[in-house]
């Protein structure tokens, strides 16, 4: 019964969360995003105390159910393990394995220490929610989009326009490669060893495992009923039931209830700890006693060193020589998404789950390489090769679960300068060809690029960076290739944008056609 409940909840959770990542046409209601906001690491980073308290209570009452019904990567592993059994002649028999306590705590320490010392990348790479997010964005979404395009093709052939074609995006080899690698590792481990990733590497698993040792409800084995048949242990994907000593390692138990359902003698029970016979609990707790590990420091030093050795930022191309008559100017400071505020704060809070990348309707938010330095690898930056930031859109700031992007209202966004416009006269069509253009001004929502009289009837852009919000409409549309006549320069700290002033106008009375 409990197992069925767990499976039901897990299926709903993973479908909703995955679809939320894939849902490009916003079919799901906004409220669905709460499923990303109850993920532990994002909640911790955004200091959502209510959610943290809730998760703490959940774990202290029921054990690590989080790993079974909330964590998408955990549920994904269960799906893989189940699929694996379909391909096997005989169901995989798990067996009790010793806890990899040292490894677990080393990884957790590494994550914490690197994070505190300013390299959040380790956390970004290992946070199970963000890992899953990247799987969804870089591996599942292209498939989903291709399927949509297939359906579009079919339906449009019958003159039905329910579906529309979409671009299938590839966001670079780094994000794709890391997503693919983590998919491979997690899947292979899940296929062969069930939940071993969660109980050896996952930092969230280690923390919740520690807490769940003190949970009220836990699985236990009734020694009077148990005949040591081993079924519970065979079915334990966490490999945490030692049926010889009839004990369970609670730090690894993810409360999947497989053992309970498999037991023919009803010896495995889910009870509050005071109803469990003493011997059991004592054994279990002593087994999982924490041993401090010294090897973690070695890990650490190597990792931190590599962080400092990698280049901090990609060198700016400030070559002043003309290329094809164009001045090759490029931005030197990467553009952070709306609501990012301070670069340091943003880099430390973003875990690169890429939800914003997936949701951005203009395809402006793209995973960075080393533009932010090593600590910001894969974190979203604004690039304008595919589109520009819609003036009224605040979607990314709303969906960000970790608080790296602070929610902005439309009005707040209109007054936030993500970057400043830079106009390169020598590259401008009007200057070079003396023909009308104005594409940049046309796309500027605040007229930070204003067309002013030039030669004859021509008009030419005049930059007003004070009222620029850095949306990149100008840079996107500027027809000059390969070096645009206009680009947006980033800020280390996003600035307030000055409000534009409406022109004074006389009341126009129109009582005739004028022709």
């Amino acid at each position: 019964m409990l197992r069925k409940l767990r499976i039901g909840l897990a299926i709903v959770a993973i479908i909703v969360l995955t679809f939320f990542f894939l849902d490009f046409s916003n079919l799901l209601p906004e409220s669905v995003q709460s499923i990303t906001k109850i993920q532990l690491v994002p909640a911790l980073l955004s200091l959502s105390l209510g959610i943290l308290l809730l998760l703490l209570l959940l774990t202290l009452v029921f054990g690590r159910v989080y790993c079974s019904i909330i964590c998408p990567l955990g549920i994904y592993q269960d799906v893989v393990a189940r699929l694996a059994n379909l391909f096997r002649k005989k169901k995989l028999r798990h067996k009790f394995r010793k806890a990899k306590t040292i490894l677990r705590w080393s990884v957790l320490s590494l994550v914490i220490i690197t994070y505190i010392s300013g390299l959040g990348l380790v956390l970004d790479l290992l946070d199970p929610y963000s890992m899953y997010g990247r799987l969804a964005v870089h591996l599942f979404k292209p498939v989903y989009m291709a399927a949509n395009n297939g359906l579009e093709h079919l339906f449009t052939a019958f003159n039905n326009y329910t579906f529309y074609k979409v671009d299938i995006h590839f966001w670079g080899w780094v994000s794709f490669g890391l997503a693919f690698a983590s998919l491979l590792v997690v899947s292979v481990l899940a296929w062969r060893y069930g939940r071993s990733w969660c109980n050896t590497i996952c930092p969230v698993g280690t923390v919740l495992g520690f807490l769940s040792k003190y949970s009220i409800f836990r699985l236990s084995i009734d020694h009077e009923r148990c005949n040591q048949c081993g079924l519970c242990s065979f079915n334990c994907k966490a490999s945490c039931i030692d049926n010889k000593s009839e004990s369970i390692d609670y730090s690894r138990c993810v409360s999947c209830f497989n053992c309970m359902e498999s037991c023919n003698k009803k010896a495995v029970q889910y009870l509050p700890f005071w109803k469990i016979k003493k011997t059991d609990t004592a054994k279990a707790i002593s087994k999982a006693t924490i041993k401090t590990d010294t090897s973690k420091r070695q890990f650490l030093s190597v990792l931190m060193l590599s962080g400092f050795l990698l280049p901090k930022a990609v060198a700016a191309n400030f070559n002043q020589e003309l290329v094809n008559g164009l001045r090759p100017l490029k931005r030197t400071i990467p553009l952070m998404p709306p609501g990012a505020g301070d670069r340091k704060r943003f880099n430390s809070l973003c875990t690169s789950c890429h939800l914003c990348v997936s949701k951005c309707p203009g395809n402006v938010l793209q995973p960075s390489l080393l533009e932010y330095g090593t600590e910001g690898l894969m974190q979203p930056q604004m690039l304008f090769d595919k589109g520009f930031c819609n003036y009224d859109c605040t979607l990314c700031t709303e969906v960000c679960p970790s608080g790296a992007l602070q929610t902005l209202t439309k009005k707040e966004k209109h007054h936030t300068q993500m970057g400043r416009v830079v106009f390169v006269l020598e590259n401008c069509i009007v200057y070079r060809n003396e023909t009308h253009c104005g594409a940049c001004s046309e796309h500027c929502p605040t007229q930070a690029l204003r067309m002013v009289p030039y030669k004859g009837n021509l008009t030419i852009p005049e930059p007003h960076p004070d009222i620029c919000i850095g949306c990149g409409g100008c840079e996107f549309i500027c027809p000059v290739v390969p070096y645009k006549a206009v680009y947006v320069e980033g800020h280390e700290i996003q600035q307030p944008a000055k409000a534009f002033e409406d022109e004074e106008r006389e009341e126009v009375v129109l009582d005739d056609f004028g022709f």
Partner: protein
């Protein structure tokens, strides 16, 4: 496809020098109306009146025809901001097409802002669907087909949306707006929403390319210029409601250069806009697309 090919050849024979080429023989009376200008009503009401002056929609759309309506839906703006054609007008035109027996009406625009937001917030998607039209996406290159423009001066070919190419008749429904690049955007400039690569226009010379694209051998049967709300400054998207003038006017004509000339003169009352700033009008005339001399035309001016 076949029907289009035939229609294309039919229209390709010669550029429309005047309305005469487009108006059926029996209507070539002296009183034939070339343009109707209406002021002082609601968008749908003004269109009803204008089309009645022409003698009804069946002069332009025949029973069984596939019609494509091309509004300006370029920006993520609500109707009050005058960034896009008025949805009430679009809905009325669709209803009139169906009333004279159109077999299908499609609506699309290649937007500048995110197309989903534009279609939604302009109110056009909802209004068009409610009136029975099919609202088509235009966000992918594969919806466009390469077409030669032998009469174009500098623009020799372009990729045109298939909804235009596959229709039997199309109706051009721009909104009159100030435009930072071309002075004004009216009917001729509205053609840019049927092409895929607009950067080329800016690259090669915007004003000439606008005239060149209008040489496409499939002309709209009607140009309906929405001047119910006019964006007088900071066009084509405008940045606040203070850019908008409630001018309550509508200009309808099969003559694209003439109707744009009329609209320019109308705009000129709001803010100075000499004809030579809107250079593509003159270029259009040079290419034989029509006249900027409104005295040559029979224009009906109606105040409601």
């Amino acid at each position: 496809m076949k029907t289009f090919a035939l229609a294309g050849i039919g229209l390709a024979v010669k550029p429309a020098k005047s309305l005469a080429a487009l108006v059926p023989e029996e209507k070539k009376a002296e009183q034939a109306v070339d343009m109707v200008a209406v002021m002082g009503g609601e968008p749908d009401q003004m269109f009803k009146r204008a089309i009645a002056e022409f003698g009804g929609m069946n002069r332009f759309v025949k029973s069984g025809q596939k019609v494509c309506i091309k509004p300006n839906i370029g920006w993520d703006r609500v109707p009050e901001r005058a960034g896009n054609t008025n949805p009430l007008l679009i809905a009325e035109i669709i209803r009139q097409c169906f009333a004279v027996g159109a077999s299908e009406v499609t609506v699309f625009d290649h937007t500048c802002d995110d197309w989903v937001k534009c279609y939604q917030n302009s109110g056009i998607e909802a209004a068009a669907k409610a009136a029975g039209a099919k609202v088509l996406p235009a966000n992918q290159e594969s919806y466009y087909r390469q077409v030669e423009l032998p009469q174009g001066k500098i623009l020799k070919d372009a990729k045109i949306h298939q909804a235009i190419l596959d229709s039997e008749v199309w109706i051009n429904v721009p909104i009159l707006k100030n435009h930072g690049g071309s002075g004004l955007t009216i009917s001729m400039k509205n053609y840019m929403g049927i092409v895929w690569d607009r950067r080329t226009f800016h690259m090669k010379g915007l004003q000439q390319c606008i005239a060149d694209i209008c040489t496409l051998n499939k002309k709209p049967v009607l140009n309906v210029v929405d001047a119910y709300r006019v964006l007088q400054t900071n066009g084509p998207q405008g940045r606040s409601e203070s850019d908008v003038v409630l001018s309550k006017a509508l200009f309808v004509s099969p003559e694209i250069v003439a109707v744009d000339t009329a609209a320019t003169s109308f705009f000129n009352q709001i803010r100075s806009m000499p004809m030579d700033v809107v250079k593509h009008l003159g270029f259009g005339e040079e290419l034989g697309l029509g006249t900027t001399d409104l005295n040559k035309l029979n224009i009906k001016r109606i105040k409601l």
